[in-house]
Subunit: 399 residues, 2 copies
């Protein structure tokens, strides 16, 4: 049977080039970077070269990259680790209600520790208004956390504009009588870029972010690896403690094969980005156009243009998302309802609800996320199958 | 040049069979277990089968296994996560001074949160006395953490006896007027089995432990993967929060290739254990005998018999450990001074110091950890090289 994988936002297959890059580190250069001998030195070299290459893509210093055991851990470190280490300045944090649970549960942990958290809503397109950030930040705000692109609806947030809002605010603080000579100015900007990494610019200078999290599993890289970019001088409290690796910020023997693979995956993504995004954007827009034409009453979730090139999220009134996923699965089409991480719970997506959609429409949301292997022919097949599903399901309901 | 890797306690090469087991999960069955479609189901199946296989080796229920991003994280979850979730009962923790830094820094975190920690010393052989545990536990002790085997000196601790001490204590509590009907009886026993996993019995029933941490990187498995066994009904607070994977105890997309490889590595280790331990014990004892004969004034660190089959740790008066490692490295022999994790710091090992050795002897400690590829011929070569190193170094010092 034909298999069409359209769930690249859940996870991606490993790129063959990445697998090849990892190969020498399994049983040849398998050393522990902390060892003083040749095997350790070779591992250390692979570690630091990977760090340097990633720093090149992010336009930061190699010393500003902390490797973690995945995207979630990088987010935890950037939010929980940052807040705990900077609580002396203030205990207020700002984030969005449509963030990934890695962010939402990080701020929950902080709330339980006495932090005050303001969660900002979004427009019906899923966009945050930078003015809203300006409105809610206060002298005790230490962190603003805004995801780069949403994992469910693909909406791309105006990170650079939010960065400017924060820089203006920090400048103003200099005139304040309470201005301290600390090298860090608050609030800092953290962005969860895990979903954006494959498709969007990751230049932290242009983005104007102070911290950024990315991982391997969404960019055709290995799973179980990620990193946090944290600007020099930012103090963090580690989430994982032990042998003191990553300058004490993340203990545990470094996962060299995964780190090497992660760096390779990021480089490949950076190389392919412009062309592949163009290709996917065209496919996406054509697919959305056809869906709107061919599926009666279909609703597009998320912004029509400011969205990831590979993301299509729709709601079909009268159709259960889960049922549709299973129908399509039988036809070899693999897609998702909302985010994979919450699909087990069968609760309506918190993201779709935040857009102001009814619980019924949220329940019926379907996400197709294209990838490097996706062709127009694949999508034509999906359109046909989806039309059938809708016809059958609605018909059976009306009887 | 001949290469003799004798640093298996730092990390092991990946077993070819493990690599093969992981292969299908890179780009064929690469799905996210949370996805509802076939790719997700296949990933979920691989996840749960791996969990079941590991549970079989540990003699526990599959539901008692929580996958983590490595050994350090498993230790953090078992100590920090446990203590935070059980602080209502008491805030006293007991551990050993020769534990790995993953444990020592976990209890440091808890100390900063107001927990009271008692650290117990060891004999000059590196052995804890179970009576010492009996002496220090109190009604508010919630956890006793004793490593199964030491990573530097290989000493195997009497875990089962400590388990019995705790069970007796818990039984006595039943007669206490303060006895609660809680299903959990304190104190519980946690053991860091990361270093022991390849060589010793992992049957948690026989060991009498309530929690146990193991990982892949020391047993010819993949890096960046580990697990915590935690007996049913034990409440933990997650260290990593987000999408709610591992029943909320460890969020982040499950690292299926690494999990499958980890389970395979544990199975291979379990299959090989008895024979391979016998072979290594013979090699080890022969090697120690030769060292004591051929290197003047050499001192064996750790217990002569109750030690890991692959561990040899010696101190040579007048010889710097680091210098010897580098000398041997030039001859293609890869060994270590104390633990790899702290070798970067060049501080004398806290473990060797705890045995009552002088800082000079601690500084001069050398660790050889044998592996599946190690032969008697390798060790003969090492003996010759080491004798030369000692002669040259001592000679150059006396000039």
């Amino acid at each position: 049977m034909k298999e069409i994988y359209l769930d690249h936002a859940a996870t991606t297959p490993l790129d063959a080039r990445v697998q090849k890059a990892m190969e020498p580190y399994w049983s040849k250069e398998f050393g522990n970077p902390s060892s003083l001998h040749r095997k350790g030195v070779a591992a250390k070299k692979a570690l630091e070269e990977s760090r340097k290459n990633i720093a090149g893509i992010l336009h930061c210093k190699a010393s500003e990259i902390i490797f973690t055991g995945g995207g979630t851990e990088a987010v935890n470190l950037g939010i929980i680790g940052f807040a705990r280490a900077n609580a002396h300045h203030g205990r207020h944090i700002v984030t969005m209600r449509i963030e990934h649970h890695a962010v939402l549960h990080s701020v929950d942990v902080l709330r339980a520790e006495g932090f005050d958290v303001t969660t900002v809503g979004v427009s019906e397109d899923g966009l945050i208004d930078p003015k809203e950030i300006e409105r809610v930040i206060r002298p005790d705000t230490i962190l603003v956390s805004v995801m780069y692109a949403n994992n469910e609806i693909g909406t791309i947030q105006p990170i650079a504009e939010i960065g400017k809002v924060l820089r203006r605010y920090r400048e103003k603080q200099k005139q304040s009588p309470h201005y301290s000579l600390s090298t860090i100015r608050y609030p800092l900007l953290f962005t969860d870029a895990c979903q954006a990494a494959g498709a969007l610019e990751l230049n932290v200078e242009k983005l104007g972010v102070d911290m950024l999290a990315v991982n391997g599993s969404k960019i055709y890289g290995p799973k179980g690896i990620g990193c946090l970019y944290a600007k020099s001088e930012i103090k963090l409290e580690p989430v994982i403690v032990g042998g003191g690796q990553e300058k004490g910020m993340r203990s545990g023997t470094e996962n060299i094969p995964a780190i090497v693979g992660f760096a390779e995956a990021l480089e490949i993504a950076a190389d392919m980005r412009v062309k592949e995004s163009e290709r996917l954007t065209k496919l996406r827009d054509w697919f959305i156009g056809e869906l709107l034409k061919k599926i009666p009453d279909v609703v597009l979730n998320g912004h029509p243009k400011l969205r990831l090139p590979n993301n299509i999220n729709i709601s079909i009134p009268g159709i259960e998302g889960e049922a549709a996923v299973i129908y399509l699965d039988a036809k070899g089409i693999y897609c998702s309802t909302g985010s994979a991480c919450s699909s087990v719970s069968l609760e309506p997506s918190h993201v779709i609800l935040e857009l102001g959609r009814s619980p019924d429409l949220a329940q019926g949301s379907l996400r197709f996320t294209l990838g490097r292997s996706t062709t127009k022919k694949d999508l034509e097949y999906v359109l046909k199958a989806l039309a059938e599903v809708v016809k059958k399901t609605r018909f059976s309901k009306s009887r």
